[in-house]
């Protein structure tokens, strides 16, 4: 591995029996980068994170974090990383401070700086006034913030965030993100996150789009969006199927079906709209123009929307639930 790459993954495979959850993926993450893993539930995001965090062993392939092999140098890897899991992993019968104290002890933070670090971490996530409250009484957002504080307590090189804002309201999500972005500029910690929220993935410097255990694209959000080409027109008509046929005949253009509307990729959307409105024989209900999102990139690459994949991967979600136990 080169000095700049803090995470290096080569031909990583993980199988559960006959099912291949992670199918020969390779990528590198540079120090100080925010790296996003984007994909539907059951795509292999959590499995990859579990391997990088030494919770699962790879079936084959190699991965290093901070220069240490995740299968052979587990202690060194663990000391180098902080984790915020998808499901809460706090002891909710202890206070905020006691949770951090436990962490400080098992991560070998010397007694002389323990208290200072805990104070600092609690201040950072604005929980210093609630330090002696039992975690059970915290809101979802507060718990998540406390977990982030805990994950950073031992000054890790990489912070892994597995769906960090899942199940939180938009306001709390924004706050957590403000906080994470600020943190990165201040501490220069590398952030590795998985998400299936598009807007969340936009915060990353680079994104790997993962589907069915494979990385199908890896680039900056802007370059990924350029793959779609031009603008997206959302079109609703009285008969979408007829309209789609008409468009493909008239403009040699493929209209994709996206949940009760048609999506069109065009180079100059604002000039194309008047033409379309004039020419189309099927009556138009509504029409709008936007820049492509990562959702469109996923749709283009897989032919499915991320939310469709989630419905069709119910089986994966179920096995995921079994893996994590009942809540």
């Amino acid at each position: 591995m080169t000095e700049k790459n803090i995470i290096s993954v080569e031909h990583l495979v993980r199988k559960y029996g006959k099912f291949t959850a992670v199918d020969d993926i390779s990528f590198q993450v540079g120090a100080g980068e925010i790296f996003g893993f984007l994909g539907p539930n059951g795509a292999g995001k959590s499995t990859t994170i579990s391997i990088l965090c030494t919770l699962l062993k790879p079936s084959s392939g190699k991965a290093t974090v901070n220069g240490f092999d995740v299968a052979r140098q587990q202690h060194q890897v663990r000391q180098s990383i902080g984790l915020v899991f998808q499901d809460p992993s706090l002891d909710d019968q202890l206070t905020a401070q006691e949770n951090l104290h436990f962490h400080a002890m098992v991560y070998n933070i010397p007694g002389s700086v323990r208290k200072k670090r805990i104070d600092e971490a609690l201040k950072m996530v604005e929980l210093d006034t609630r330090r002696n409250d039992i975690v059970k009484n915290f809101s979802g957002g507060m718990k998540r913030r406390l977990e982030i504080a805990r994950g950073l307590l031992h000054y890790p090189k990489v912070l892994f965030l597995d769906e960090p804002t899942l199940g939180l309201d938009p306001q709390t999500r924004n706050r957590i993100w403000e906080f994470l972005l600020d943190l990165r500029t201040r501490e220069n910690v590398t952030i590795f996150l998985t998400t299936h929220y598009m807007d969340e993935a936009e915060h990353a410097n680079r994104i790997a789009i993962i589907d069915k255990g494979k990385i199908i694209a890896l680039d900056t959000p802007d370059k990924l969006k350029d793959m779609v080409g031009g603008d997206i027109i959302n079109l609703k008509t009285v008969d979408d199927k007829k309209a789609a046929d008409e468009i493909s005949q008239r403009y040699r253009m493929q209209a994709t079906d996206g949940h009760g509307e048609l999506l069109l990729e065009v180079a100059n959307g604002d000039e194309f709209i008047p033409t379309l409105v004039r020419d189309l024989n099927t009556r138009i209900i509504s029409i709008s123009l936007r820049r492509p999102t990562l959702e469109d990139v996923f749709l283009k690459l897989t032919g499915r929307a991320i939310r469709d994949s989630e419905v069709s991967s119910m089986e994966a979600i179920k096995s995921h639930m079994r893996f994590h136990g009942r809540r």
Partner: protein, 269 residues
Amino acid sequence: MKTAIAIYTIWYRDMLRFWRNKTRMLGSIMFPLVFLAVFGSGLSRSMGMLAPGVDFAKFMFPGIIGMTVVMSGFMSGISMVWDREFGFLKEVLVAPISRVAVAGGKTLAGATIATVQSIIIMALAPLVGVTLTPLVVIELLGLTFLVALMVSSMGILISSRIKSMEAFQVVMQMVTFPMMFLSGVFFPVNNVPDWLAVLVRLNPASYAIDPIRQTVLQTVQLPPGVPGLSSLGLTVFGHTMTVWEDVGVVAVLAAVLIAAAMWSFSIQD
């Protein structure tokens, strides 16, 4: 040193939780208390003396101490399954500490809690007419802690393989009930049919109850001319077990189980 700190930290957290959650403390001593109250007072009169100076309540009391330790020792396993279900175990498993330390800390915590609970039962000694001297209490604490270690490691061993709460509770009952009823908590084990006698001697709990009983009953004032209470003791192949022999059996079992628990918990997927 690092491992010692890890074990201590894991132990300390369980102590905090135990202290916060007093209903749990009550929960695992309720059952033995009911047995003591119902069987002890209900059967004592009609059964008369089991040995000179020893009525059924006195006979059963040390058994109930042992029973409390066995019941609450298994809570270590419950606590582990609980941590797994509520996610906290993940925090522990990704920490830079060995799995051996995790299993060790959990086992110690379970054993400590079980010992504390047995003290509550010991405090009830005057109710059944038993007077415990300070020396006897110290002996009993040593015994109960050793027994608690054995049971607690068994709990951790089982919880390393059986991961859902429902399944664990079923298995725990399948293990604790025969251990209780086939151990001499409720009846002297020397005057039973052969099949039962064999099962009793295969049961690790028998070797836990016997020394506790011997230690408690040494406080009973024997009428003149009665040499001792060996008729109530556990015999193996005609040999009456001494306290030290029982302790030896329990210590070996505890060592094997704790090693097995640590090994089983360290296997990684």
